[in-house]
Amino acid sequence: MVSASLNRRIHFLYIPHICMETGTYSSAPSSATLLRYYEAFMRIPESPVFRYGIALLFVGTALGLSLLVHPSLPDGFLIFFLSAVMLAGWFGRTGAGLFAVIVSMVIVDYYFIPPYRAFVVELDELPYFLTFLLSAVVTSWLGSARRSAEEKQKAHLDELFEQSPEAILLVDLHDRILRVNKEFTHIFGYTIEEIVNRSSIDLIVPSELRTETITAREQLAHGKDLNIDTVRVRKDGSHINVSEVAFPVVASGKNIAYYIIFRDVTESKRALEELQKAQAELAHLSRITTMGELAASIAHEMNQPIGAIATNGNAATRWLGQQPPDLVGAGEALECIVRDANRAAQVIGRIRSLLKKNPTPMVHLDVNDIIQEVLLLTAYETSRRHIAVMTQLESRLPAILGDRVQLQQVMLNLIMNSLDAMSAITDRIRELRIQSSRNPDCVLIHVEDSGHGWDPQYSNSIFDPFFTTKKDGIGMGLTISRSIIEAHGGRLWAERGAPYGAVLKFCLPISADAE
């Protein structure tokens, strides 16, 4: 977002400059060559000899041309001399301009104001001569003012180019580097001399990204702006994370060069990664805490299949111990053992994935599966606390893209909150209602309880870190849940139940390629 606005800003500032540069050379063979000529031209030597010399040259040329046309066009000299003083003003600035005016005045008086070939002015011709003189002064001033305005503008733009906090690179259509700024040399470690005229892709693009970069450059040629986060190489071979913005320089509807702007994001990327790591650790810690609270439930869930395995094992032993052994009965019991063992392994797998520290991949998920898996873990807890669980799950929900463990954690947090909120309720039914439904562009999940709800004065703070109404809560559950849902592009919010209780809702965007 930042780089996009930067892109526009630079565009806005630079385009007039570029158009001006190139306007003069519309019929030139190669735009890049011309750009270089122009750059050279703008670095005209500042010596007075050159400045005054060129003024004389222009005036001399005007004299020659005027003498040529004078017989047929007596006033033709005006245009030549006015042009000469303007050009002298433009190239040689004010001093040379005025010098050209004076020289022109003398020459014009001598050659073109009657009496010819004499340094006098007839009285009749005086207004005519003075008008010429005034025009010449004004024209010369216009020339030099234009020059200084252009120089001022160019100085501003150069300053901006050089002082920009982002590294800027200007390349021609063949990827030859025309110009780089100070920040570029800082970030990449090259001096301007080392880099100008060489290929930018050869120098700063890692070899594995070469093809990709060339493709991107081609897209740029087709008028597509580029805005990516990528990796580039410094002179010393080290890598650097950059946010890169590129756009073409357009003159008369044609690309003539590309600006590429780099921002070093190594630091901010590292900070972001640290933040994500800290968040993941906190989420992991909170999962472990929740799993600790669920230990009895998990033990129960594990004990069932283990008890069944032991009992089936005994049954099989007895079938085999009969005379003759009953193989059919034993086989049935053994089949049951395999099934129960698989079930136990599944429970362990689920628990292990919830306790895992590393993020799990984003995959297409059915929200109903998540709900049911978590309800299995909390089944013992709900029955122990005499809580009725009602589910209303819309069948055939579209898939969402998510991290299974994280979403299970959110469900677990919300359910455990609901159970805790109902622990003190004795005068009405303790009921946990879970609903899933499809909205136009998201899947919506309700978790509703008949507990004590929360005090309206805390409405704004229930998602705050360390806010808790529980005696032994740490107040991170909802904070973590919200950050998980938001990281999935969804929303988590709370409503007060009617007439009592709390309703926590979250929605997850439907995966684009879900259907």
Binding site: N303, G307, A308, T311, N314, A315, R318, D326, S383
Partner: protein, 208 residues
């Protein structure tokens, strides 16, 4: 060995456990009837056979302990063997006080369960026999005349015919006739037999 007819009921919400118990019981020749909830068990028809109930403590809806209370309130006497994944002491005390035969914690030793089943069935068989004997005696007792019924408590208190005749104001010979009819109608083979029958019927002694 042909087993005597009986009924073993299993109420267990966990399908794996329910199946495992079924396999175990079938391996020793028992054919259990399985239920996932207490309500299903209550709704089922139960034949008049020696029975026992294997009951999970923790059930959805009506819990095992709730079912035990309901059965007791409805005067349905059936020996109950509790099984639980997490037995705590107060819970088992409650169950045993309310008359449970056994309280087993999963995973239990198969022999413990089978022993408990055999003990329960035997206990129920005895109980049922006793119940049917008492019902029989009740029928015979109903067939007695009012005078004979009046006579029974006096007889079993060990009074002589003479003492009784004085007490109820009739001749000794009449008491003798009543006594003979009473013994016959009650199908008592001896006086000692009659005393035992009176005890089973809960007829109190009349103090001398």
């Amino acid at each position: 060995m042909k087993p005597s007819p009986n009924r073993v009921y299993v109420v267990e919400d966990d399908a794996s456990m329910r199946n495992a118990i079924k396999n175990l019981l079938r391996s020793v020749g028992l054919e259990p009837q399985l239920f996932a909830t207490a309500q299903e068990f209550l709704d089922a028809k139960r034949p008049d056979l020696p029975s026992c109930l294997i009951l999970d403590v923790r059930l959805p809806g009506l819990s095992g302990l709730d079912l035990q209370r309901e059965l007791s309130a409805a005067n349905i006497r059936i020996p109950i063997i509790f099984i639980t994944a997490h037995g705590d002491i107060p819970m088992s005390v409650r169950a045993m006080k309310a008359g449970a035969v056994e309280f087993l914690t999963k995973p239990f030793r198969d022999q413990d369960l089978l022993d408990a089943i055999q003990a329960s069935l035997a206990q129920d068989r005895v109980q049922r026999q006793k119940d049917s004997d008492v019902a029989d005696l009740q029928k015979r007792f109903q067939s007695l005349t009012a005078r004979e019924r009046e006579l029974l408590p006096l007889l079993i208190s060990g009074r002589s015919n003479k003492e009784i005749s004085a007490e109820i104001g009739t001749s000794e010979i009449t008491v003798k006739v009543h006594r003979g009819n009473l013994m016959r109608k009650m199908q008592a083979t001896s006086f000692a037999d009659l005393v035992r029958m009176a005890a089973d019927l809960g007829i109190p002694y009349t103090k001398v």
